[in-house]
């Protein structure tokens, strides 16, 4: 035993690592898939919990693993609550409306608008509550996370900002993203310590306007090509250009948006990380267009090819991506982080499950 024990414990470096391996996750996923099938997918709540436990305990902050303490039963209860208190009444109401209102009447239109408002608010609420649940079940050295704000307020912003984004043909998008991120992250706590988010908006707009205008120009070019092409009555030329037109339109119309989105997202991730601090500790992400595209496209393939059963592998890859590209700077004094006094929710993310918002 060390006689020198009185010396203070040396702090490990501020790192976040994901040490999980697909090979170790595979047996969990296989068993989950089997049990999901034989239980008509009711097992999914327990299966999801098993996957989270794995992902969390393989995530090391300062060489100390995280811990996920949620249970399948909590998720199941959350699901039942959402299904019977929210989804079922909504299904009944919309069915009744479709029955009793003329489809082309103003009353039906008004109902539809109202219905979308409710659905979008519920989605916002679901995102917030799911995050609250997960953080309250996440612990590091026994200290839990949490969300200190209200899901209702988040839902209102979510709804209004999305509406604004639609009305402005997307131009409100960066503002929406940043406002929602600032709310989610800025209301996140670790123990009694809040995260702080202070960000300028213009760096996002610089990237965004380039993306938007670029996509718009490509789209317009496609339109012009089509107009010229459709006025071309020389039969030989029509046949000759048909193939080219197809590929040209495919490239001009369907490539820009995903490319622009990934490019924008990579910037956004870095921008958001830079804007976030906790107790003077700051973050830096090194996301880039190519590595993010690699992550997203391979995850997409994994999920499609496995008919959705391989989602945990995609989640592991996403976790690892964030851990690998994140650097943390500053001096953290763990003694200053006290246990949270907030009450944790007793049931889990039913709404998020209902709306298919299965982030992790």
């Amino acid at each position: 035993m060390n006689d020198d024990a009185a010396s203070p414990l040396e702090l490990p470096p501020l790192t976040l690592q994901q040490r999980g391996r697909a090979g170790a996750l595979a047996p969990i996923v296989l068993l989950n898939t089997f049990l999901n099938i034989i239980t008509l997918s009711i097992y999914r709540f327990w299966g999801k919990t098993k996957v989270r436990q794995y992902l969390w305990r393989q995530t090391y902050f300062m060489d100390e693993p995280l811990e996920y303490s949620g249970s399948g039963g909590e998720l199941f209860k959350g699901f039942l609550a959402a299904a019977f208190l929210v989804l079922l009444p909504m299904a009944v109401v919309s069915n009744l409306a479709e029955t009793y209102l003329e489809i082309e009447s103003t009353a039906f239109a008004a109902f539809s608008v109202l219905f979308y408002i409710v659905v979008y608010s519920l989605i916002g609420m679901a995102i917030y509550r799911a995050r609250r649940y997960r953080l309250s079940r996440t612990a590091w050295r026994g200290i839990r996370g949490g969300m200190r704000g209200s899901s209702g307020q988040y839902a209102v912003r979510y709804l209004l900002l999305w509406a604004l984004t639609l009305i402005t043909l997307g131009w409100a998008y960066p503002w929406m993203r940043q406002t929602l991120f600032a709310r989610l992250m800025g209301e996140t706590t670790f123990g009694n310590r809040p995260f702080l988010v202070v960000a300028k908006l213009w760096p996002l707009y610089r990237i965004f306007s380039a993306c938007w205008l670029g996509s718009f120009l490509m789209f317009a070019a496609g339109m012009i090509w089509l107009t010229v092409y459709s006025h071309n009555d020389n039969e030989f030329k029509v046949v000759w250009t048909a193939d080219i037109s197809f590929w040209l339109i495919a490239v001009l119309w369907f490539l820009p948006i995903p490319v622009a989105l990934l490019w924008y997202r990579a910037h956004e991730i870095n921008h958001f990380a830079k804007a976030t601090t906790i107790m003077g500790v700051s973050f830096e992400m090194k996301a880039g267009f190519w590595n993010l595209s690699g992550l997203v496209s391979i995850n997409f393939l994994i999920i499609i090819c496995s008919l959705g059963f391989g989602i945990p592998f995609a989640q592991l890859r996403t976790f690892r991506y964030f851990c690998d590209h994140l650097t943390i700077q500053g001096n953290l004094t763990p003694e200053w982080i006290e246990q949270t006094r907030m009450e944790a929710p007793t049931i889990g993310e039913g709404l998020a499950d209902a709306f298919d918002l299965g982030a992790v």
Binding site: M1, N2, A5, A6, L9, R19, A24, N36, I37, T39, L40, S41, I42, Y43, R44, W46, Q53, R57, Q58, E64, P65, E67, S69, S71, G72, G73, F76, F79, A83, L87, L88, A91, T99, Y100, A139, W140, R141, G142, I143, R144, G191, L307, G308, F309, P334, E335, W336, I337, E338, Q339, D353, A354, D356, G358
Partner: protein, 360 residues
Amino acid sequence: MAGAYDGSYSDGRTAAMHEVVAQARGDGLHINSKTGDFEEHWRYGDVRAIDPPRSDIPFRLTSQTMPDARLSVNSAEFVADLRHQAPQLFLTGLAQPTLRRNIALIILALCALGLLLWQGMPHLSAPLAHLVPAQWAQNIGETYRSRIISGAPVCNDASGTAALAVMTRRLTNSLSPPLNVDVIVADKAQVNAFALPGGHIVIMRGLLEKAGSSDEVAAILAHEIGHVSHRHPLQMGIHVAGIGMMVDLFTGEGSSLMEMAGEVGGLLLLLNYSRDMEREADAYGRKLMGTAGLSTGAMARFFARLKPEGKKGGNGAENGGGYFSSHPPLEERIDAATKLETGQSVLNNADWMALKNICG
């Protein structure tokens, strides 16, 4: 004498980590700070393992008396000591009470779902069927009808259609309140007929070909009118929609596999009346034939015609599987239908020929 092992400990009040020495003694787990600041004594009854012991992560423990405190020891010998003192911490498989409880919960949920589908839905659908407005039933019926005839042409030879109208009127004339039925012949080889919501009735060409007389067709039609009068089709429609809704609810994160199973199950069920419903329709049909002054034995003759083919056990399109799969045993129905034998023919010979050739 239990060994002393180096470990790290956080008390759950702050995130500070302390170097400690842990010992699994006879009276419980002893945790002593290396600096002598504190000592903890956890009784085995209170101790919980955060994860089962694994080679890839340190073994973490907590106590129910201090649920946020964490003791982390990275030593296989310590685990062995503890296993010796408190074997209940190391239960695996079905020996774990939480696993047993979860399995019970899942089985209970499945049973509740099953009960709801097989017992609840039939009881709910009958009263609901009477609440559905006529216009809605009409629309549903039309949708179902186009799905069932699936692109086959509707036979509309003028004199055949007129003959069909004569037959329909003859049967429904005496009804009060009047019953709205809309009978069509679909150009399909199946020996089958369906009643659908909203009074839609579809007779397949195969049935007309198989029938030996107009009375036999009238008897089948009367039987289908019986279904309409009892609102059986609507009841089944609600039943299926309800099941679809429950399946959607429970399989929420719908894998396409589950959705497909639900869809196929629903369609099969839609045309599968219960035996009680068939008996009701049979009785109603006989009464209708009697009131119209028609031969109530016609039904029996038609079934007798089908019988030898039915005995072959085939279920193909040619022998009208629909009528065998769900209808009461043939013998019983023939018996019931032969008891009354009066009346004359519903159509004269020319009209009957016209009806037979309605598909041109």
